[in-house]
């Protein structure tokens, strides 16, 4: 973790260091170039910050359950995943190198993604078919990550308003995870419907997930320039690659195995919406704005 934080600090430092040295080296070149504005429009460094919200969906692979059915079909015990139902969020910094319509972006950030699933179990009376109990465990998960995405963006149009397409990859490191279980049901054992709901229980779940995860990103957005500030709005889809459930700790680190819970193999996909702004790192002056 400490290494990752150092890394997050180091990356912008590398960029800035490169920028400072670049300006120093190129002073002579620009002295020979009368058209600084034209050169500026071709190549630029941007730094800014952004934030937004996301909705995630867990996609199950291999299924697991702590419940083994003795007299009914095990498939009834499979979890039901509810996609894009809980809001998450993200915030971070944006470091972009722009060159002739293409932008190369590193956007290290902190993000929270949430997903939920539920299990429903039913018990029936042999003696009185009206007697039954239905029990539903709804389990929501909140995963906190530090994520390092690398994106390549292409501006479809040039000018003050610039729509763009982007694609990239990410690596994320799990900081913390929690799991909240809500138990609710309908007790008809007394011959009438008696709904009940227990208090939610929240437990730590960091060990239930792998610490590192990767994925790919695709999206679109637009920028709008006002003075030296470029405002950015984008929507992106993240597709998780690989299983984020920790196979080794599926049972041993899960305090909720006592209610039959066991994490499936899952990949996590999400849709994010971000707004932010970036500032040019070169040639900020009264005479030359970022974009005309």
């Amino acid at each position: 973790m400490k290494k990752l934080l150092i890394f997050c600090l180091l990356v912008p430092a590398i960029f800035f260091a490169g920028e400072v040295s670049g300006q120093t080296v190129r002073k002579g070149k620009y002295a020979q170039r009368p058209d600084r504005k034209s050169d500026f429009l071709k190549t630029q460094w941007w730094l800014g910050f952004y934030g937004g919200g996301n909705m995630a969906m867990a996609v199950p692979g291999q299924r697991y359950s702590g419940i083994q059915a003795l007299n009914y079909d095990n498939s009834i015990n499979e979890k039901n995943y509810e996609g894009y139902s809980l809001p998450g969020g993200q915030a971070g910094i944006n470091i972009t190198f722009y060159h002739r319509g293409f932008s190369f972006t590193l956007a290290p950030h902190y993000r929270v993604e949430k997903f939920t699933y539920s299990n429903t179990y039913e018990w029936y009376s042999d003696e009185n078919e009206l007697n039954s109990i239905q029990l539903t465990y709804e389990q929501s998960h909140a995963l906190q990550y530090v994520e390092l995405p690398f994106l390549i963006r292409y501006d479809i149009l040039a000018g003050q308003f610039r729509p763009f397409l982007q694609a990239g990859v990410y690596y994320r490191h799990l900081l913390n995870a929690s799991k909240t279980v809500t138990t609710e049901g309908v007790d008809m054992a007394s011959g009438t419907s008696g709904p009940f709901e227990n208090e939610p229980v929240t437990t730590g779940a960091t060990d239930l997930f792998v610490s590192g995860a990767t994925g790919i990103i695709g999206g679109a957005g637009c920028t709008y320039d006002i003075w030296n500030v470029r405002f950015v709005l984008d929507v992106s889809y993240r597709h998780g690659l690989g299983n984020i459930a920790n196979a080794e700790n599926r049972y041993s680190a899960n305090p909720l195995t006592g209610i039959g819970d066991a994490m499936d193999d899952i990949s996590l996909n999400s849709i994010s919406v971000n707004i932010g702004c970036v500032f040019p790192l070169r040639f900020i002056s009264k005479d030359l704005k970022a974009i005309d």
């Binding site: 083994q68 109990i133 792998v210 610490s211 196979a247 599926r250």
Partner: protein, 398 residues
């Protein structure tokens, strides 16, 4: 562009340096799991008794079920694969009742003692490792079996003679026939008949009846003798026992016993609801003593008069492992050094729904399988199986 390439290479190198975790995310499904064996019938209730690992790596689970067919719980067996997945069941509840809580392994075969629901005679049930139904052998007319133990290829059985109000100790071969039988009076009157019968029908306190033999020495039984729930040592030759460790009527006594060496034992006792664990204790096997004098190491976290399982498991050195369940509804395992009697580890299992211990066994991969009962939704009694990894077991034992 050269600068960008340089920076990107630097970034890739830094990512490796920062230790991006792309480690393998796979696990052996047999090394660790939790399984709750559920029945969707509202009235169904299961009482787990004991577990053994079979040669195929799977598990054979003995339990009992309450049915309308008898006042006594019926024998019920479950066979699982090595990952704890349900393979098949054998429901003997219509024909065999009151199974004892000990699966015996004799010559690589498994046996369990149960009772005929009509004649009340003890029968030896052969358990097929594959989960198929085995043979049922009468045990020489012995009735009301209470506790079983093993001496090599022989089966030691404690039972109850209701007519004569006697505790009966007998030694049987796997053919069921008794080679030794000795009776001991529980005392005139019917004061202690009721708790014994309630033990059979599971309508009262479940008493820790045991039977066994000291290595190369006396036989012992933990049961009623002379008005008291006592640990009795006998050579099964003389009418009077050689030694007696008396309890307190049926309110106190030994709850678990494991001979270690000579007159040293690992013991647990109960006394009016309190529980005491004594991993290394010297008992007078040739005279009369009382469990009141043995009291030490109270374990107030355990339920009242806690049922306790006790086994020797090999860690870095032999360990005495006690298993029971706590007042807050968890299974607990305590490991003690056999030579020193010092605590080497504790492990709790279960959360949310209440869990109670039934039995445990070490597994061929160095782990442990822990069998218990849980109450789904706080009401449906079901069997639960925890498989601990070798690493977790090592943490407990060492």
């Amino acid at each position: 562009m050269i600068r960008f390439t340089f920076l990107f290479s630097l970034l890739a190198g830094t990512m490796i340096w920062t230790g991006c975790d792309f480690s393998e995310n796979e696990a052996d499904p047999t090394s660790s799991f939790t399984r709750i064996y559920d029945d969707n019938r509202f009235e169904a209730s299961y009482e787990p008794l004991d577990i053994v690992q079979t040669p195929d790596g799977g598990f054979l689970i003995a339990g009992s079920r309450k049915t309308d067919l008898s006042d006594f719980p019926g024998l019920y067996l479950v066979k699982t694969d090595a990952a704890g997945n349900f393979v098949q069941e054998i429901d003997y509840s219509a024909s065999l009742v009151h199974p004892l809580d000990e699966i015996l392994r004799i010559n690589n075969n498994y046996y369990l003692i149960a009772m005929d629901p009509v004649s009340l005679q003890a029968v030896l049930v052969s358990l097929d490792p594959s989960g198929e139904a085995g043979s049922i052998t009468p045990m020489g007319g012995i009735i009301y079996p209470l506790g079983a133990g093993q001496d090599g290829n022989n089966i030691i059985l404690q039972s109850f003679n209701l007519d004569d109000k006697q505790t009966v100790m007998s030694v049987h071969g796997v053919n069921g026939q008794p080679s030794l039988v000795k009776t001991f009076s529980i005392g005139p009157g019917s004061d202690y008949v009721t708790p014994i019968l309630e033990h059979f029908t599971e309508t009262g306190k479940k008493l820790p009846f045991k039977a066994g033999k000291l290595p190369g020495g006396l036989y012992y039984f933990n049961g009623f003798y002379n008005y008291t729930f006592s640990l009795v040592f006998t050579n099964l030759q003389e009418d009077e026992p050689q030694g007696v460790t008396q309890g307190q009527h049926d309110d106190g006594g030994i709850s678990a016993i494991q001979p270690i060496q000579g007159q040293n034992f690992a013991l647990a006792s109960f006394n009016y609801g309190n529980n005491f664990i004594m991993p290394r204790k010297t008992l007078n096997t040739g005279g009369i003593s009382s469990t009141v004098d043995l009291v030490e190491n109270p374990f107030p976290e355990l339920v009242q008069d806690a049922p306790i399982e006790l086994k020797v498991i090999q860690g870095q050195a032999p360990r005495i492992v006690y298993g029971s369940h706590t007042r807050n509804g968890q299974i607990v395992l305590y490991s003690f050094s056999e030579s020193e009697g010092t605590l080497t580890g504790t492990r709790y299992l279960g959360y949310s729904n209440k869990s109670e211990l039934a039995g445990f066994t070490s597994t061929e991969d160095g782990g442990m399988a822990v069998l218990g009962k849980t109450y789904i939704s706080g009401r449906f009694g079901r069997m639960i199986l925890y498989k601990l990894t070798a690493e977790e077991t090592n943490d407990l034992l060492n």
